[in-house]
Amino acid sequence: MWRRSSFPPMTMLQHAILALILPLASATIIALFLRRAGGIAAAVSVLAATALAVIAVILALHDDRFEASFEWLRLGDFSLSLGIKFDDLAALMLVIVGVVGLCVHVFSLGYMHDDAAKARFFGGLSIFMFSMLGIVFADNLFMMFIFWELVGFSSYVLINHWHERQSAADASKKAFIVNRVGDFGFLLGIIACYYAFGTVNLTELAAKVDGGAVVAASIPLLLFCGAVGKSAQLPLQVWLPDAMEGPTPVSALIHAATMVAAGIYMLCRINVLMVPEALTVIMWVGTATALYAALCAIVQSDIKKVLAYSTLSQLGYMVAAFGLGALATHHDHGGTTHEMLMAAGVGAAMFHLTTHAFFKALMFLGSGSVIHGCHHEQDIFKMGGLRRKMPLTFWTFTIGVAAIIGIPGLAGFFSKDAILYLAMTKSTPVFAVLAFTAVLTAFYMVRLWKITFFGTPRSDSAGHAHEGGLTLTLPLVVLAVLALVGGYTAFYPQVFTGVFELIPEAHESAHTIILITSLAVTAIGAFSAWMLYQPTSTDTLAQKSPNLFNGLVALRNSFDAAYDYYVAKIQQRFAILLNFLEQIFLAGLIIRGFSGVVGLFGMGARALHVGRLNVYLYWFFGGVVVLWLFAAGVIHP
């Protein structure tokens, strides 16, 4: 358990602040001075990332866990603070962000070497690191929301990096807007939370809930909306596959390892607010996402899109894990057995988040290496035979695949097992779905792996594929190592116990069942994929079972189609209708009409001046008559 210290040693706090400021400073410097000096900008950014990673490790390893805040805004009774809550959870997330971030930065040095707008890219990365750290450190929900939006912004900038591509421009826009939809609920949830508890400080919230404050289910559900947007859960998952328009390192860092995981991190942060009703919803959303995305992944031909749907699926796993909630455990303590609730959902979700960050970043960077090697070819059916051309990439990628499909001993195996165990304990249907998803995961991953790396090159670009330089390969190696060992909790220093002790561990019979299930699903999925797919230039499934293939494609497209229909046919038409009403009805008919009527009266009044004296004299006469009637009291005013 982390130790709460009201007077943290300044050095650690300063470290944390430094960690926060470094990337911001880097971004500022790049934006202001290094716009045309891409090389220097890259160097500055990478240096900042390196320093940040170092600081992250120092902070994590140091035994100090602290909280600190200062007031940022005060109006009336409302006060908003900028604060740091540095506990084990934050420390774990910090290290993930720092390490993966560093890897991606280094990878980018090579990957983006020839890019014209390198400065903007690295500036964007720095901004992202800053925003992400903000989320990690945030000690209250408002602050988290602020950085939540900022990661969205940096994601927008980075997806839109190649903005001359219409698809990139559209994808970035979509990502931002869809996230905003999620944030709509998130913000409402925060505000509701503020009024329900009088505070949004995470620690104080925990204290209030522990003290017996009643939580309405609406609050956690509204807050969950934020996670639905950011972690791309159903039905707001549509932006993530499109976000692959961004450079691959961005996909690795933001859309696989860290930012999209922020939703899960946030849920873990507000775990105390979770009431059973909310958890059920969260669980099913996560489960559905996991299944849906896995199904979609099967029919992808773009290497990054496969990985994107895989990410979606894994995020669904994490959300589902979180939604499964607490686990009753028995502890032996001094001879007596205590039953206590353990936040197993948090543990499982965070564990999977960690391992996933490693192996998914690894795979993305691997795919980046492939894409780089194949001269920006992304279609797996135009690749093939890369096993020989890019051996290092192949082997590291293989480790990633092995990790994700849950080959025993690799990172994914442990975390997935923890989730499956939890699901089995808490909810059989969820367990069934997740297990099936695991089959699918193994299936599409092996499909990807086989088609990409085996066989013969199916295009010129694949034929001339080559391994990248050290900046490209080194991060792969580092991440591969992490993917290998990341599943052993023992591998981690003792500083993360606050999180890792929450990981549910199967014992005895359960352990066996899980092990068998896990091995079985992996084997079934991997084997059937290996058998089904041949490294050719066409999709075997599409040939063999076009109905199934087309059905899956339709399933994949259904959400986009629905949203497109809404945007183009409903929203836009509604907007045009309102605009029309305003122009024609309000500004036209009413206002112009009114002024026209006044003008007509004016013309009428003007026309009364007929120019003939005797008519005018009648006016006088009329006036005198009326006044006379007044005087006679005939007209009573």
Binding site: R606, A607, H609, V610, G611, R612, L613, N614, L617, Y618, F621
Partner: protein, 102 residues
């Protein structure tokens, strides 16, 4: 026979005034219109003299002097305008003088 009381004088003055007003309204010949206006002035003087006599104050009578002078001046100027206008437009019918309108 109507006995000449203040009331009858007042009514008589009113009738004259009304006839003058009616002439102003009805007639199109500027000169006749002008005569109507003069009739209205005369009606007022009649009223003044009558009031002066019955009220026993002199101011009314003195006022008539001024009114007569003013009326004379008015007629002089007015007729000068009418003549000048006739020279220009060859008409003094008011319904033909509608060069200024709208």
């Amino acid at each position: 026979m109507i006995t000449p009381t203040l009331d009858t004088y007042l009514v008589l003055s009113g009738v004259l005034f009304a006839i003058g007003f009616f002439g102003v309204l009805l007639r199109k010949n500027t000169i006749v219109v002008f005569m109507g206006l003069e009739l209205m002035l005369v009606a007022s003087t009649l009223g003044l003299v009558a009031f002066s006599r019955f009220n026993g104050t002199m101011d009314g009578n003195v006022f008539v002097f001024f009114i007569l002078t003013v009326a004379a001046a008015e007629v002089a100027v007015g007729l000068a305008i009418i003549v000048a206008l006739f020279r220009k437009r060859q008409t003094i019918q008011v319904d033909e003088l509608d060069g200024l309108k709208n």
